[in-house]
């Protein structure tokens, strides 16, 4: 639909005609409706699709609680594009088409290491795109390989929060704000790392005595 122009400088930035004129309580209601009715597109390329699209939607985790179980097979009717899996060079134009075919407002969640950065295939691979944001703008990134359904829920709730706060609605084509959605608040990466080292040494599950430095710990 040509919503994304071909301007090389900022491909995702383009003012749409009739930008939001009233940012009032009506906007609040609209944002409430949009955030609570995120219909995902049934789109999954690899492993993450099982965890994020299927296991999250299934009985144990139940995506329906958030009103997001109405998976639409047609991009026209979907609001949320969950990039679940690796994007390779051959898929790139198709992903772009899918994104273009979706009607505004549309949101994108990139799940899994592959969709964030290329993941295990970032090096030595001749086809893997290193991150879905190289193709389309991404609202929320959910790390994991693949992320647990709970992690995906955290990402979904983060997106809902972003919509309610108007972070995506006000500037529809500037959605490159990465959100570390899985790491719970007040926990730092260093803490996790220290705990990991402690646990690994305590359980001595592996032969760490040889040369811990070689293992990168």
């Amino acid at each position: 639909m040509g919503l994304i122009n071909d301007n090389p400088e900022n491909p995702f930035k383009e003012a749409i005609p009739g930008s939001p004129a009233f940012i009032t309580s009506i906007d609040k209601v609209v944002n409430w409706a949009r955030s609570n009715s995120l219909w995902p597109l049934t789109f999954g390329t690899s492993c993450c699709a099982i965890e994020v699209m299927m296991a999250a939607g299934a009985a144990h985790h139940d995506l329906a609680r958030f009103g997001a179980e109405v998976a639409r097979p047609s991009p026209r009717q979907a609001d949320l594009l969950v990039i679940a899996g690796t994007i390779v060079k051959r898929m790139e134009p198709l992903l772009k088409t899918l994104y273009d075919q979706m009607a505004e407002p549309k949101y994108v969640i990139a799940t899994g290491a592959c969709a964030i950065s290329g993941g295990p295939f970032i090096y030595d691979s001749y086809t893997t795109i290193r991150g879905a944001h190289e193709v389309i703008p991404v609202d929320v990134y959910v790390p994991g390989c693949p992320p647990r359904p709970e992690a995906f829920f955290y990402g979904l709730l983060t997106l809902q929060k972003m919509i309610i706060e108007g972070q995506t609605i006000a500037k529809p084509f500037e959605r490159r704000k990465p959100v570390l959605s899985v790491l719970p608040p007040r926990i730092k990466l260093e803490q996790i790392r220290d705990e990991l080292v402690k646990n690994l040494t305590a359980r001595s599950v592996t032969d760490l005595n040889q040369n811990p430095k070689e293992l990168g710990l």
Binding site: S37, S74, R76, A103
Partner: protein, 355 residues
């Protein structure tokens, strides 16, 4: 034509036109609001019922137990961008959803919610209903054609073939009730069931036509196991693949309103409509039942049939398109014809229970 001009002339003469306009406007508003309420409630009910069939909870977060979920969905769909594909036939593409909604709206206007609460008490109500329900398929056909998408077209063609075929069985099963009750007026059909509902009063005939009606009405509303036209796993989204936002919401809406309408017709013809449940000689029980107002009875019976339809949807897999046709033309249609013949015999001889 003469009678119409005479009628309009009469309106001006007697100053009834104001009443007429008021009546029209009020009716339109009532029907429209009824339609949206029905759709919102049914979509919520479907999602909740499906969830509980599947050991889940369904919508929980928006409002108490997710009651506002469909409101949010409707609001979102209203405000979503409206896309028209470049290659689509713009006029027909825009027209199609309205045709479908119009059919649903027109059907709603003749449903008797109680003896008095009916917008227009036509004396050919049933004929009107079956005519209008056949017209709803036009929207689907036009929508699938105008989308200029092969999957849409496949879905639309399937829908056309299916609806036209199942229309026959549906009309035949309606006809046997018409024969039994001797009227096309919906209120009179209900009144004829004062002694007992047609589903069991006319020996097996009423029950058979009820079964035929349920099957063909499920096909009429394009629901599993007859959801050829949408067939998510086969045709992506069928005839509404290219529709987005409001236009898609119209298809969505009319699907659920149609579900309500066919269930309502089923409850009118076979379950006595707004008639309370009476059991033979149990006087006090019958008196208690009479205490419940007619619209409640009507909605209860309709709700039961809607639940049945939802039960089908979340249990059965989809039929294949040729099996669907074979089932209609080789089994359902002959059965309907035989049933109609038998019901004529019963009606002529007055062989039903409690004559």
């Amino acid at each position: 034509m003469k009678s119409l001009s005479f009628y309009i002339h009469n309106l001006y003469q007697n100053q009834q036109w104001l009443d007429f306009i008021l009546y029209l406007g009020l009716g339109l508003i009532l029907t429209l609001s009824l339609m949206s309420v029905v759709a919102l409630v049914l979509v919520y009910a479907e999602r909740k019922i499906a969830a509980h069939f599947q050991c889940r909870l369904g919508p929980m977060r928006v409002g108490w137990h997710g009651t506002l979920q469909t409101v949010a969905d409707a609001l979102k769909l209203l405000l979503k961008e409206d896309l028209i594909p470049k290659a689509a036939d713009r006029f027909l593409f825009a027209l199609a959803p309205f045709l479908t909604v119009m059919a649903a709206l027109l059907s709603l206007s003749v449903l008797p919610f109680s003896l008095s609460a009916t917008l227009s008490n036509m004396n050919i109500g049933l004929l009107f209903l079956s005519a209008i329900s056949g017209y709803g398929v036009l929207g689907i056909l036009i929508g699938g054609w105008a989308s200029n998408n092969k999957w849409s077209l496949l879905g639309a063609m399937r829908a056309g073939a299916q609806l036209i075929s199942y229309e026959l069985s549906m009309t035949l099963s309606l006809l046997s009730i018409v024969v039994l009750s001797g009227s096309l007026n919906l209120n009179e059909i209900i009144a004829s069931q004062a002694q007992g509902w047609w589903i069991w009063r006319a020996h097996l005939v009423g029950f058979i036509s009820f079964v035929i009606y349920i099957i063909s009405s499920t096909a009429e509303t394009n629901r599993t196991p007859f959801d050829m036209a949408e067939g998510e796993s086969e045709l992506t989204a069928g005839f509404h693949t290219e529709y987005s936002g409001m236009r898609f919401a119209f298809f969505f809406l009319s699907e659920y309103v149609n579900l309500f309408i066919v269930s309502a017709i089923g409850s009118i013809l076979f379950l006595g409509g707004w008639m309370p449940l009476h059991i033979g000689e149990w006087e006090s029980f019958n008196a208690l039942m009479d205490f419940v107002p007619g619209p409640i009875w009507f909605l209860l019976k309709t709700g039961a049939l809607i639940f049945l339809s939802m039960w089908f949807r979340w249990t059965f897999p989809r039929l294949r398109v040729d099996q669907l046709m074979r089932f209609e033309w080789k089994f359902l249609l002959p059965l309907g014809l035989i049933n109609l013949f038998l019901s004529s015999i019963i009606a002529l001889g007055g062989f039903y229970f409690f004559p």
